[in-house]
Every structure is written in C-alpha cells, then in structure tokens.
Symmetry: C2
Subunit: 361 residues, 2 copies
DNA sequence: TCTCAGCGTTAGATCGTTCCAATGACACTA
DNA sequence: TAGTGTCATTGGAACGATCTAACGCTGAGA
C-alpha cells in the first residue's frame, strides 16, 4: 500500500490529473475516464492508471470538478437555533446520519444559519446564487412553509423533514408516523390491561399534534374503548399540562398517552400532586424520547423517532430527485417505536385490574 | 433597487463576470476589481459596474473562485453522534452560532461524519486531499487527541473547542472556564448563607472534572470553609451519584455543587430517598444547563456554558490563524454563568441558618 | 529635456477538471 | 483490397474566476 499522501506536501502544489497522466504514460482525459467511466479503459491501462493514482496520492479537486460539471456535490441544511427548551433534542443524531448518508453518496452537508424567527429565504437564495449547493434538506417545516413552493418554483431539488399539514403537498418529504406511534402506545397499554386511557395533546390545529391524537383515537376505537371525555389539551408546558390532565385523573383513567415528553412530565406532576405515583398508579407514555425521558423517575416510556433513518431517507429521496427532476414526488412515512421504561410497568395493579389475558410477568 | 435575481433563471446559464463586464462596458478584470478591490476603480466606473451587477443579479461562482484562489472559504466540522444520553445537549446552539459567525466572514461550515468511536483522521484527510476546506473546528477534544498534532504537523489551520488536558498544548482553542463556574456557584451559595457545601464530581483524572472541582475548592478556601471530607465522586450516572453523595448528606451538608446536571439529579434522588427535599432542605447546583435542568422539580440551578460565544470565538480564532499562520497561539477561556432556579432558594432555612447579611425575602 | 512612478484599466495566461469530436488501431464483412 | 464498424485513447476547448504584466498618459523631480 503505497498511499503516499505526503506527496502533496513534498513539492509545490497538489497532485493534479495531468501529473498522474504523465506518470502513467497516458493523456489526462484517460485518467479522468479511469475515475469516472472505468469501463472505457482496457483493463491493463486501468490498472496502470490506478497504480499511479495510488502511488501519487492523487485526489481530484472538487473545485475544478464543480466548475466543469456545475454540480457541487453539496447539500444545504439550514440550522435553526432551538427556540426554547424543547423540540429537536436529538438533532445531532439526525445531522450525523445525514452527513454519513451523504458521504456515502459522495455528497457533503453544508450548513448555513437560519434566522431564529421563521425561516427566511435569504440564505437559500444566496447559496443558490453562488451555485454552492445541488439541493436542500429542510427541517422544521411548519404549516404554510414558504420555502417548499419557492424552491419548487425554481426547480431546486429539496426534501423536507416533516409533512406540510395544510395546503397542497409540494415535493418530497420524510416524516415520522405520529399516529402509528400513539397507536402502538395504546396497544401496549391495552396489553398491560388498561382500558381507561386518556390522551393529553396539544391544542387542535397543529398538524403534528392532531396526527398523534388520531393514532390514540383509532386504537381506542379498535378496542371498543371510549374516547369521549378522555382527551385533554394543553400547550407544551409542564404547568399547563398538569392542570389540563387533572380532570382525566379525577375521572379515573389508569393510563395517559401524551403528545410529548414535556406533557408527560406534566402528568407526573399532576399525579404527585394528588399523591399518586406515575407508573405505579397511573401509567404514562410520552413522545420523542428526549434525553430527559431516560432520567426521570420513574423513567418514562416514550415513543422514539428513528432519527437516523430519517436522515438516511432524506438523503435517499434527495438524490433520487436530483437524478430525475420529473419523477413523481415520493413521500416516506417512518415508523416510530415504543421505548418501554418504568412508567408503564408490566403488572398494572390499578383499580380496574387487568382485563385482558395478558400473562402477568 | 432592481435586484432582479430572476435573471439567473431567465436564460441559459447563470450570470458571469464577463456578461456583467460587457454590459458595463469594461473588461472582466475591472468587474473583478470592483468586487475585490473597489478602491482601485474610479468612483464613476465603480458605480457603473455596481449597477450592472445589481441589475443582472450577478453572484460570483464559488467554484471558479476556489479553483483560482485555492481557498474554498469552507470550514470543516466533524459531527459525532451523541454517545449515549449525555453530553452535547446544546449542540444546535453551537452549530448555529458557528455557521452564523462563519457566514458573516464569508465562510461556511461543511459537515462530515465522524465515526462514533474515537475521532479518526480519515475524514479530515479526505477533506484536505480534495482541497475542500480551509480549516477545521474540532470539538469533543479528548485528552491525547491525535487530531491536533496531525493537523498542526501539516500546517492546516484549526481551532479546538476544549482544551487538551494532558501533554503539550497545540494550536488555538476556545474553552469554558469550569473552575470559574463552580467558583461562582459556591459564591452564590455562600451569599445565601450556606457554609457546609459539598462537591459531587467525577473520578479524578478527567481534565474537565478536575477543573470544575478546583473552582469549588478555591472558592471554599477563600471563604475559609472546609473542603476535607466534602468531596464525593461518581461516574456520570444517576444511581452512582445517588450513593456517592449519601455520606455528605449524612454529614449534614446544606448544599451540593455537582459537576454535571446528571450528578445533580443523583442528589435529588438521594435527598428524596431520605425524605428531604432538594431546594428546601439542601440546595443543589448542577452544571451544563441541559434541557432537563429547567423541567426538573424543583427546577435546577445550574452553570450554563455560553455556547453561542464559544461558536463565535472559534470562528474568530480560526480566521485569525488562517490570516497569519505564524502568529502565536491564542487561547480563549470563556466565563460560564449561573442560572438561578428553584433548587437554590433565596431563603435558606437549613439547620445552620443564614450567616451572612443576605436580605431575607 | 529626460526619467520614472502612479493612475485606472486591460489582454492574456492560468487554476484542474470534464465534454466533444476526432484519432489511430484493429478485426470483421463484402 | 477496400469499406465498415468498434474500441481505446487523445487533443483541444470550455467552465468562471483571479493573477501578472503591461497599456498609454500625466505630472513631479533631476
């Protein structure tokens, strides 16, 4: 393994295609072909060129490639600062998956700062104007997000993490099936013997929140369980959540499915206030698997979003879109998964007792 | 303000320097000068060129600039996935500040995936080989981090977020003064009337942990308070922390300064176990201001790291290094700040009572 | 009177790569 | 033998910017 990467520091500039060509006794174009269309070369020539490349530690210059091919192999991603204490707590996983998936396809992720307020188009325009990126990954796509339409209009490939909940769907996106998550949460609780299961969600109108509520509702109906009067709503704040869930606890629910870990924590507080214990007296399931969930006491069962998979899928869809701009839009809905912890113990000793034939223990 | 940015989509390719030159009635080079050294142009020519640039919506092509100047205006940053439940909870703030600061200087941040284990050099080598980046920002610099030496050896500009705790200092870095943070924590507690203040840290030998311990120690000494037998240690895990702090509580400490929020949470558990209440009976201060801190009950007072400032400083130092490779290394130590919450209430009704003249209220 | 530095601008070469059209060598059919 | 086609390779021209050296002219210093 020669791999003398030091050659770049041995003499003046870096190793160029022409230098490799001279050494291998071929023309520059042949070296280019050896890299981009190896099947055009005769095997022995290919071997010779490859050897020269290896010995000299040659790496093509991205700048020159970009200039010539008009493709930077860069994907733009706008980082927004976390608004407050919540949201995207696992962004690093997403970003890691994103760059890893990009890397494997020969792309890289280029960051740029999105202003804290709503996402503006300035940053996107600038990156495009300078032909710096081939496409974008959007995240935190809100309702009525102007970016999708703006990008679509000028034919820029993009993929969103998150559906558009209102208006016409534009472009490709990857999202997590919140309904499926809360559905699974209900399934889990029913299997543990619960029948009076409340849902603590956000005020109606937020797409994500309504989606999560819907999964709870459909699972309840499937099991013939009542949903009327079992649904509470609150903004994503502990104290609001605490008071919002009280009536449900008064009504004797034995389990709560919350639309976020923050809301679930509100349940914890409401329970403690009435000297009940989360987990022991009332089971609680959160959503998002925030870092906090694992260290609460009792540790919080929660629905986790497969952030790595989201990252991979974003890159996959984006590459497909860049390969074929006219392909029909692709939308991927990923399944979240339930992380069972201590807030949903296996034996449910609540007032109603187990009603299904779940094997205890 | 014409600013017809649509011109790039009106006809074939993008607007080039030559096109602007033709329109302004000057040579391409003059347009280049208008952008890079405006003082070379006669004011009227400058105005004419600028007008043409504006009307045509011209933006220089980064690829061409990079090819010619051999400077990509890109800064590399390796994203590591969060190891487990801990660390880098506020990475998005850091990244946002980083890209914003870079943007303002005409640079951008390029991500690449660092393997989960130790940081390898492969990624850095590849980015350098292709001349994709002008410098690096390193984070999570561990003791004996090989990257610093490797980069320094080949003259690549870099700046680390985090000191090197062992071995010779290499290159520029930005770090947060942990000792100053714990010092401030002790100051705060003393002002509230506490005198028996314990420190719960990590096992000796970790640079960061020892640094934080040192601040507690020096502040205690300054106030003539005893530190012997007041220092507990534990790995960053709730249960370990809980049992580690027990002896201190038995010894009657009225406040605990912890080296991390996780350890602080261990204190909470230890206190509850003995039917004491964090905040009411014993004050607790954590470190890092993780998202969890604000939602614990009682909410946890904690030392927050100025992540935005760290980001800015990283970029500042890196740019300085790129401008002058032979300048003496610069090291920046930023002050963390105390976020006062409910775990350190103003009135300390512990067994010893307030000893200083803090206004009760 | 002669030299020379400075003025704002320009022509031409250059960075390292890929695209396009054309090359020569070779085997195949007619 | 000439014609046709395929294959592997090549020369030259972009891509869009910046760098260097020089343009013709003016006014100051010798």
């Amino acid at each position: 393994m020669p791999r003398s990467t030091s050659s770049s520091s041995s003499k003046g500039g870096p190793v160029t295609l022409a230098m490799v060509a001279r050494r291998a006794g071929v023309s520059p174009q042949t070296v280019s072909n050896a890299l981009n269309s190896p099947d055009l070369l005769r095997p022995e020539t290919l071997e010779r060129v490859r050897h020269a490349i290896d010995v000299m530690g040659y790496r093509p210059s991205r700048a020159a490639q970009t200039l010539r091919t008009r493709s930077s192999k860069l994907i733009g991603y706008g980082v927004q600062p976390t608004p407050a204490g919540s949201a995207t707590p696992v962004m690093d996983r997403f970003l890691h998956a994103l760059s890893q998936a990009a890397d494997e396809a020969g792309y890289r992720i280029l960051l740029f700062a999105c202003p804290p307020g709503g996402p503006t188009l300035d940053g996107y325009e600038e990156l495009l104007g300078q032909h710096e990126v081939d496409g974008f990954v959007l995240s935190g796509t809100a309702r009525q997000d102007p970016r999708q339409a703006w990008l679509a209009q000028r034919g820029v490939p993009f993929v969103g993490f998150g559906r558009m909940w209102s208006g016409r769907q534009i472009g490709d996106w990857v999202d997590v099936d919140g309904a499926s998550g809360t559905d699974a949460a209900v399934e889990h609780l029913v299997a543990l013997g619960h029948r009076r299961i409340a849902f603590l969600g956000w005020p109606r109108g937020s797409g994500v929140g309504d989606d999560r509520a819907e999964g709870w509702q459909r699972a309840m109906r499937r099991h013939g369980l009542p949903t009327r009067g079992r649904r509470a709503q609150s903004v994503d704040d502990i104290d609001s959540a605490r008071s919002a869930i009280k009536p449900m606890l008064d009504a004797g629910v034995t389990a709560v499915v919350a639309a976020s870990d923050m809301l679930a924590l509100g349940c914890y507080h409401a329970l403690r206030e009435r000297e009940s214990a989360p987990g022991r007296d009332v089971s609680v399931i959160g959503f998002d698997d925030s870092p906090t969930a694992a260290i609460l006491s009792p540790t919080l069962s929660t629905i986790a979003q497969p952030m790595e998979a989201v990252g991979w899928e974003c890159v996959r869809l984006l590459l497909a879109r860049m390969a074929d701009a006219s392909a029909p839009p692709e939308r991927v809905l990923l399944e979240p998964f339930l992380v069972v912890r201590d807030s949903t113990p296996a034996v449910h000793p609540g007032p109603s007792g187990p009603t299904t034939s779940t094997a205890a223990r």
